[in-house]
């Protein structure tokens, strides 16, 4: 029996760079305003952690489930059943679309795009749409198709 899975971790260095600059600026501002040292440290740490969180997107796919998470932390992972995916496509997003500009509005959209380029786009049973930055959406789509065909055969 073959067990196949696809995983990818996409890290956007630009988010980390912007976060670092912002952390230094805010830290300097708080210090200049007479803020206590713990307040300066807290603001710098909060911004740095947020930048790391927003810069990383992890995707894991096998024939049965999809694991999506923002940030490098294991606890933030969201697990979805392959049968809950109505439509899966590959899209190539531009810089503006990374930040949600030029993307058709939908009331239930989760955007996990951290850089322009290949992205996996999912539409779920409940109407939710999820876009996930990943290095090889084609490999993820092939595994999803295998899982959905298997589900259809069982039904």
């Amino acid at each position: 029996m073959n067990r196949k899975a696809y995983t990818s971790t996409v890290v956007a260095p630009i988010h980390v760079a912007i976060g670092s600059v912002l952390a230094v600026l805010v830290g300097t501002f708080v210090f200049a305003r007479g803020g206590r040292i713990w307040l300066v440290a807290l603001s710098v740490v909060l911004i740095a952690v947020s930048a790391v969180y927003l810069s990383t997107v992890r995707l894991g796919v096998n024939a049965e489930q999809i694991i999506v998470s923002q940030g490098p932390f294991v606890l933030s992972a969201r697990v979805m059943d392959v049968s809950s995916v109505v439509e899966a496509t590959r899209v190539d997003v531009g810089w503006a679309q990374v930040f949600g500009i030029g993307v058709p509005w939908h009331w239930r959209t989760s955007r996990l795009t951290v850089r322009p380029g290949p992205t996996l786009s999912l539409r779920l049973v409940g109407g939710e749409r999820i876009s996930i930055s990943t290095s090889d959406p084609g490999a993820a789509l092939r595994l999803l198709d295998t899982g959905r065909k298997h589900d259809d055969q069982q039904q």
Binding site: N2, R3, K4, Y6, T9, R58, N62, I67, A139
Partner: protein, 119 residues
């Protein structure tokens, strides 16, 4: 990267996971500094025990291909590509040698003798 395990293979599952990583690095699919999924998450996706995935990661760390950093997960080491390619060739050599009746130490002597001739 794409992971592929064959449960009917005679090779243990943790060795197959490690081989997937070595191959991906040698093929350029995994680049130096790239993060690998946490062992628990990989185990869930491959439907193996978490200790199996962890054993594979530990083995690759021992080989110098991966590095573990506290709070930053598992990453591919900067000098992993050359190491990974050499490891693959050494494994293939060991396998071929075993089929031909050579022990690991005899193969090592052969490699040393060839090395001495070439230098």
């Amino acid at each position: 990267m794409l992971w592929n395990l064959d449960s009917r293979s005679s090779s243990p599952l943790h060795e197959q996971i490690a081989a997937n990583v070595r191959r991906a690095i040698a093929d350029g699919v995994l680049e130096p500094g790239e993060r690998l999924p946490p062992a628990g998450e990989l185990a869930a996706l491959l439907q193996v025990n978490a200790n199996t995935a962890l054993a594979a990661y530990r083995r690759l760390r021992t080989e110098g291909i991966l590095e573990f950093r506290r709070g930053r997960g598992v990453r591919v080491r900067a000098d992993s590509q050359a190491l990974s390619s050499v490891t693959i060739v050494v494994r293939e050599l060991l396998e071929l040698g075993r089929k031909q009746g050579y022990t690991a130490s005899e193969l090592a002597q052969l490699v040393a003798a060839f090395g001495a001739k070439q230098s």
